[in-house]
């Protein structure tokens, strides 16, 4: 079947099997390999991408279900040479080790901060509780998201201060 999926702002039209998973569409058809596959059962969250602005586990979404919809992946987080504050936070706070869960974690974190700009530790832990990291014990992921939240709050304050 023919589908058109807009990924990171670009529309891609492909003939795919009806059973093709969205994660395989993204990785194998579009060669955007930043999103990872980890478990098959929606438990690990290595495959989290945004579908129409919401984080989904793309191993449990058919590519056909994304036909006509918008997908955003980790490759869209950075703006040119500049990192998204979430990416910057992960680097500063050692929020990643092997890097395999990191794209999914960051996509969830970005969504969280877009909707809850000042999340406390419990809120962050709850937000990423559908995702597994085997390396960090989560501590530094939580710190990374907090760093991004504080950085963005400071940036907002500076902006409103300069434009009274």
């Amino acid at each position: 079947m023919q589908i058109t999926v807009t990924v990171n702002g670009t529309a891609y039209t492909r003939d795919v099997e009806a059973r093709l998973l969205l994660i395989h569409f993204i990785r194998d058809e579009l060669r955007l390999t930043g999103s990872h596959w980890g478990c098959d059962t929606s438990n690990c969250g290595a495959c989290v991408v945004w579908l129409d602005g919401r984080p989904v586990k793309s191993c449990t979404v058919l590519a056909a279900m994304a036909d006509g919809h918008q997908v955003r992946t980790v490759e869209d987080l950075a703006r040119g040479a500049g990192l998204d504050p979430v990416q910057e936070g992960f680097a500063r706070c050692h929020g990643l080790q092997c890097g395999f869960c990191t794209p999914g974690m960051m996509m969830t974190a970005r969504w969280l901060l877009d909707h809850v700009p000042d999340p406390d530790e419990a809120t962050i832990r709850e937000a990423i509780s559908g995702q597994i990291c085997r390396c960090t014990g989560y501590e530094n992921i939580v710190r990374s998201v907090r760093w991004a939240a504080e950085h963005e709050a400071a940036a907002r304050a500076a902006e409103s201060g300069s434009q009274p």
Binding site: R27, G38, D40, T73, C98, R134
Partner: protein, 788 residues
């Protein structure tokens, strides 16, 4: 990135993060070669069965299928069986019998990954079921079904009996002791479950005869040698590339059948073949961990001086003895089992058996089974404390080795290099406000709330290991380092070890930069490619810094000494008159007469006249054969709350004081400990790879094999002390496994402490709500069992 005050050590941000943060890491499944085919493995649904026939006709007729391999086709190439890391053999594709559920039976090579899976459904295998042996004690029973009838002379399911320590001396100590405490315990089977599963892309070039294998391996050089030995290919024609690895934890040490099938698939089809296992395959067939049934006995005086320790272990190795450890230590380093205490005698006896379960046993950040040993003694000390009515912290402090006893030779012959144990325990107790915590526990019990405080003190032995004692399949456990200093003073370091997230690209650059007075940004680290790096045994057993890190230091110091001679020529001084400032060689006492490595490197490549016999350039290589293991240690305290109505355990606090010697990058050290603590909570509370009585694996997905998430983990509270290793060139000890080794006992001790008012003295991991509730009710349940 700037160098720290004392050179290049310090919490520098990681070099490798730039690609991971942008989704530009290159993991095994990210590799795409022109014309690449996809492999899939057909696995046995039965744990024990004779294969009557395998019919691949329909699969071969599938329009997308290029090849189908069976045990028979591999046997024609003498590849149906491969050697394991424990001098056993393992079936690559089964020919005679299947011996565990999930065993590899056939391999399909197709043009896409979905078609390869489809074709598996078209293969017909006629199995004649045999009774399975699921339980290790059942394996030893008279008349138990013989699992390894392929081995000549194997008339039962026992693999080995092995012992260490002095039995007679231990018996004498026990006979004279005032108090003996006894406890049976199980360290259940678990699985490292790295988030990235195992896989390979094999590419055989029939013209050059070169085989290139991209593989999820923690030990690329060891794999190359094994492929040469197994497949009969010349070693210089084999290139192993370990790309970015999505976590390993010991799971990615062995060679798995799927890897070899991909290699044969590429040879047969003449095209690259990718094989990446799915999650169920990873959990059901690759290296599991633990599965130790342990009987412990501890002897002491009535005032609490520990005198002796005994252990009897029944080890379940699964269907093939495929554990990965130094050859002369079939139970790994389990016999460093007297832990951190000063006692007179110890003896342990380990019996290992075959069962109809997946092969493995040594994996999962276990420091070659020191995890099991630490768990045993740390539970035994708590059992003894309960028997004597003593506070477990106080009893530990009384018995810890004292700083002046180092180097300390333990009752089983291992020489601990350095330690200040009381200092670490005191720091942990202070951080926890231990006395106040005990008072809070008492107040909570009056309110009907059950808090538990658990301690563990651990000593590891890591950095395997001295060649005189240790090898794997005849390969000594030394590692090389290859340091090239370019004319402009930038450097490239080639190493044999393989990061799986530990940050080698950063820390090894720091090591070299520190020795040569460079900025870590000026040093690139090359790893994971046997064509570009020196030989070495790879990363496991926390050996990267103790062994390969030492090799890097030695290479850098060779460069520095060569630079001294060149600098002397530049400064027209005698080499003996120069001193190293940390950044430059200078004429003693004259900072105006100094030359840094960058200037020296350019001169070393120039026409500068050097003393006779001195070659130009500054490159150096080193091979490091460690004189001893290093012995990291730590003191852990866990606070839990148990709901006696549901059995649910909540970890409220976890205090971890670690001493891994000199720290190169404290930020990375902290991250390593965080991850291990989560593993400890997982193993203690939820992770178990269980089997039912018919041999069905009950942990074949992340819906059944539970891993801790952010909401089960507390915010870790870390502290550290630094006791340098006296024999390591920079005093570092290694930290990759410390927390995984030390933390499960602290969690279990805390849970038992919480439910001791119900008369519970012991319950086995995993302490799931059901198992804790059953223990409180006085019932044994599940894989765990309770002792009252």
């Amino acid at each position: 990135m700037t160098a720290g005050l004392n050179g290049a050590y310090g919490s520098l941000r990681r070099k490798e993060d730039a690609r991971f943060l942008r989704g530009k890491g290159q993991f095994i499944d990210d590799i795409e070669l022109p014309g690449m085919l996809h492999g899939a493995v057909l696995r046995s649904p039965l744990p024990h069965a004779r294969i009557v026939y395998v019919d691949t006709t329909a699969a071969e007729a599938h329009p997308q299928v290029e090849a189908v391999l069976t045990g028979e086709t591999l046997a024609a190439r003498n590849l149906a069986w491969m050697p394991t890391l424990s001098q056993d053999v393992q079936a690559v594709l089964a020919t005679d019998k299947v011996r565990f559920q999930g065993q590899e039976v056939a391999f399909v090579v197709a043009r896409d990954r979905y078609s390869a899976r489809d074709a598996l459904e078209l293969i017909v295998v006629d199995y004649e079921p045999l009774p399975p042996v699921v339980d290790a004690s059942q394996a030893m029973a008279a008349g138990a079904p013989l699992i390894r009838d392929d081995l000549a002379g194997q008339d039962g399911n026992k693999i080995y009996d092995w012992e260490a320590g002095d039995q007679a001396a231990t018996d004498a100590v026990f006979a004279a002791a005032d108090v003996v405490a006894v406890q049976d315990m199980v360290y259940p089977r678990s699985h490292p479950a790295p988030l990235e599963t195992c896989g390979t892309v094999a590419d055989f070039d029939p013209i050059s005869g070169r085989l290139t294998v991209w593989s999820t391996t923690q030990a690329p050089h060891a794999h190359r040698t094994l492929y040469a030995l197994v497949a009969g290919l010349p070693e210089h024609k084999i290139r192993i590339i370990s790309p970015d690895i999505g976590g390993g934890f010991g799971n990615k040490v062995p060679i798995y059948p799927g890897y070899l099938c991909a290699v044969v698939g590429s040879i047969v089809t003449g095209r690259p073949v990718k094989w990446v296992e799915d999650r169920s395959e990873n959990l059901m067939s690759t290296a599991f961990a633990r599965d130790y049934r342990m009987h412990g006995e501890i002897a002491a005086t009535r005032d609490g001086k520990i005198l002796g320790l005994r252990a009897r272990v029944l080890a379940d190795h699964g269907a093939f003895n495929a554990t990965a450890q130094p050859t002369h230590f079939p139970a790994g380093f389990f016999h460093i089992f007297t832990g951190s205490y000063d006692l007179q005698a110890a003896h342990c006896q380990v019996t290992a058996v075959y069962t109809n379960k997946a092969p493995g046993g040594i994996a999962y950040a276990c420091s070659f089974r020191i995890t099991e040993a630490v768990y045993l003694i740390e539970r035994m000390v708590d059992v003894l404390a309960a028997k004597l009515g003593r506070d477990p912290a106080d009893l530990r402090m009384q018995n810890l080795l004292r700083p002046e006893q180092f180097p300390y030779t333990g009752p089983t012959g291992w020489e601990y290099d350095s330690g200040d144990y009381p200092r670490a325990l005191r720091l942990a107790l202070d951080m926890a406000s231990y006395d106040e915590l005990r008072r809070e526990q008492a107040r909570a019990r009056e309110r009907g709330e059950y808090l538990g405080i658990g301690l563990s003190f651990f000593t590891e032995g890591v950095g395997a290991g001295p060649k005189k004692h240790m090898d794997i399949l005849g390969l000594g456990m030394a590692d090389g380092a290859d340091l090239r200093v370019h004319p402009t003073g930038k450097a490239t370091l080639g190493i044999s070890v393989q990061t799986q997230g530990q940050g080698h690209e950063t820390t090894f650059a720091q090591i070299v930069a520190h020795e040569l007075g460079l900025d870590p940004d000026d040093v690139d680290v090359v790893h994971g490619d046997t064509d570009r790096t020196p030989f070495g045994m790879g990363t496991y057993g926390s050996r990267s810094t103790p062994v390969s890190g030492a090799a890097a230091v030695v290479a850098a110091r060779k460069v520095r000494e060569r630079a001294r001679i060149v600098a002397a020529a530049m400064l027209e001084a005698a080499p003996a008159d120069l001193e190293w400032t940390g950044r430059a060689w200078q004429v003693r006492g004259d900072p105006a007469q100094a030359r840094g490595i960058a200037e020296i490197a350019m001169a070393a490549h120039s026409a500068l006249e050097l003393p006779a016999g001195i070659e130009g350039h500054l490159d150096a290589a080193a091979v490091y054969d460690p004189p001893n293991l290093t012995y990291p240690f730590g003191a852990y305290i866990c606070l839990v709350k148990v709901d006696p109505g549901t059995g649910e355990v909540q970890v409220l606090r976890f205090i971890a004081v670690d001493d891994c010697g000199v720290q190169i990058n404290p930020m990375i050290v902290e991250g390593q400990i965080h991850g291990g603590l989560a593993d400890g909570v997982g193993m203690a509370l939820m992770q178990v790879l269980a089997y039912d009585e018919d041999g069905n694996c009950l942990g074949g997905s992340f819906m059944d094999y539970l891993l801790p998430t952010a909401v089960e983990c507390p915010s870790w509270e870390l502290g550290s002390t630094v006791t340098p290793s006296p024999h390591h060139p920079i005093g570092a000890k290694g930290v990759g496994e410390a927390a995984t080794v030390g933390s499960p006992a602290a969690v279990v001790n805390a849970v038992i402490d919480a439910i001791s008012p119900f008369g519970v003295r012991h319950a086995d991991m995993p302490l799931t709500p059901a198992n804790v509730w059953s223990a409180i009710q006085g019932q044994a349940a599940g894989p765990g069992q309770a002792t009252r």
